[in-house]
Amino acid sequence: MRTIDDQLREYARYADEALPWVNPMDVMETVKMHGATIQPLPARNRSNVFAMVAAAVGTLLIVGGVAWLLGGGTTTESADGLEVTLPLEFPVSELPPFQLEVRYQLDPGVGTGPAGVPEDLEALMTVSYGGPDLLRVDVVRSVQLFFPEPNGEPGPPHKAAGSFVVLNNETKAEYAAEDGTFFLTDREALFNPLDPLMWETWEDICTYGEHEFLEASPVAGRETVHIRCTSGGDSYELWADAETGLMLRIIGQDVPGNLILIASGITATEYEVLAVRYEPQFAPNTFSLSAPQGAIVEDYRGVDQSMGPEILPKGATVPELTGQFLDGGDFALADLEGSRVAVLFWGSWCEPCLNALGELAVVAKERPDVTFVTVLIEDRPEDASAVLAERQIILPTVDPDGLSGNLYGDQWGDGIPLLVLVETDGTVAAYHPGFGPLDLLQGILDEAGW
């Protein structure tokens, strides 16, 4: 039987051929025809792209302009004798300014690495929403995260208490209290101002699933609507503010919320608003972009922040890389100067990395002219050895010195799996984050002229 990965690729390949294409000419023509008048939606006819576009434009015109962000209407359902009415979508434009005190219970289950799980996984944040395009999140209480120091000790807190983020329609300002850095970057698109929180409506969370209304109880002194969503074996319970639709409590897996502000790479099992104040009196500097006194300011506004090959562009000299081979002996990338070296950064805890590793092993067998080395990130050598043995993969594997935990912020890159091809003179021949099928890997080698 084919592996799940193979089957997914086959299924996707078939889908890619079957999925329709929209003709840009039809799009332009339909928009032109309908102008700015509201048109009734034509009957849906999937075989007719023109009708599809017309339906799209009709909907767009009805909703109109920036108002696509906004929901409309309410839904009323009766279940088990409960009559419930609540906003169908999050009515951003109508939402009054608010301030929340939020508690997150973080999920230790995924992406925490091997350094163990801290006993206390409770984080607290204050969220200040000043209206469209005005948002501030303060970390009140952080958790000790798991990016270990080279000696194996847990690293310093990531986004320590006192850290904050301020967003307006042009700029994102981010202060990291743990090291006093203050970053200013451009804010890219005209997104929903609450997007930085990855806030979602009950309807988003219940998509495709079953939902049922349960007996409601107040949260943070507010009347709520209490919903249970069940989707594909996952179950969430939600408490939304009955008046505004604001999510006041969520229990479940992958609880939405801006965990990236405090804990990149892990998720939460519970989100709870401890206090909510609508129309609050904000402190004068709440939405100011000024750096705290003594902060190290780094202003990247107007600078291309796109991640990717720029981290180590082709031709750049690779950073130093040393460590110990799992089967003994010291490793130094510099010692391999004169050889072409393919370096894969991975971890046994990282599912996509294992695919990349397997594919690399296949290519390695066919390319004796290239030296293949794999480097562990945030991993225990014994765990990695077990994975290599189980999958019968024989590749020189290094437990590196000094690389930061999840590669984040490291000069090599910002995530794994990561493949770097190093030329004979120690410069980058190709830089490829992420993973793909074998032909993609072969393509990376081809593109590098290897």
């Binding site: 086959e10 078939y14 999925l19 294409w21 929209v22």
Partner: protein, 151 residues
């Protein structure tokens, strides 16, 4: 043809391959196609604003997403299995994919199926790479369990 129209055609050539995959992964074949059409129509309607965007595909993903809330159906089937099935694909795979949460399904289909990079999914959705990685890991684990493959 006018310069603007040519530019829009070129633009569609760049973003449509992304959008049709992403919307199909999220909403399934039928609603996904509709969301793609809606997003492109929106782009043309607001061409002056959209043309200069660095992450136009990500922006339009939100547009199509917002619109599709109104029309979504019960099942997000990526594509119907043809009569006689797809070679080397277990008949239960579509159902197993449907059972994933939305975010997991999008990550699994785009990364493991269509071969997107984690970074590309993250940029489209406007979330961190590690968030996408989490969804992928969880989704693949669940998929393996439901398909009876040892993880």
């Amino acid at each position: 043809m006018l310069e603007t129209e040519t530019a829009f055609e070129d633009f569609c050539g760049v973003v449509q391959p992304r959008l049709r995959h992403a919307f199909a992964a999220r909403y399934g074949y039928a609603d996904g196609a509709e969301a793609t059409a809606e997003a492109l129509a929106y782009a043309w309607e607001h061409w002056e604003r959209v043309r200069g965007m660095e992450n136009a595909a990500g922006y339009l993903y939100r547009v199509g997403r917002s619109k599709t809330r109104r029309i979504r159906r019960a099942t997000p089937l990526l594509v119907d299995m043809p009569e006689g099935g797809i070679p080397h694909v277990e008949p239960g795979l579509p159902a197993a994919l449907e059972s994933l949460s939305e975010n997991q399904r999008v990550a699994v289909i785009l990364v493991a199926g269509f071969g997107w990079r984690l970074r590309e999914v993250a940029e489209l959705r406007g979330v961190s790479i590690s968030t996408v990685q989490n969804h992928l890991e969880r989704g693949m684990k669940k998929l393996r369990t439901s398909m009876g493959e040892p993880s």
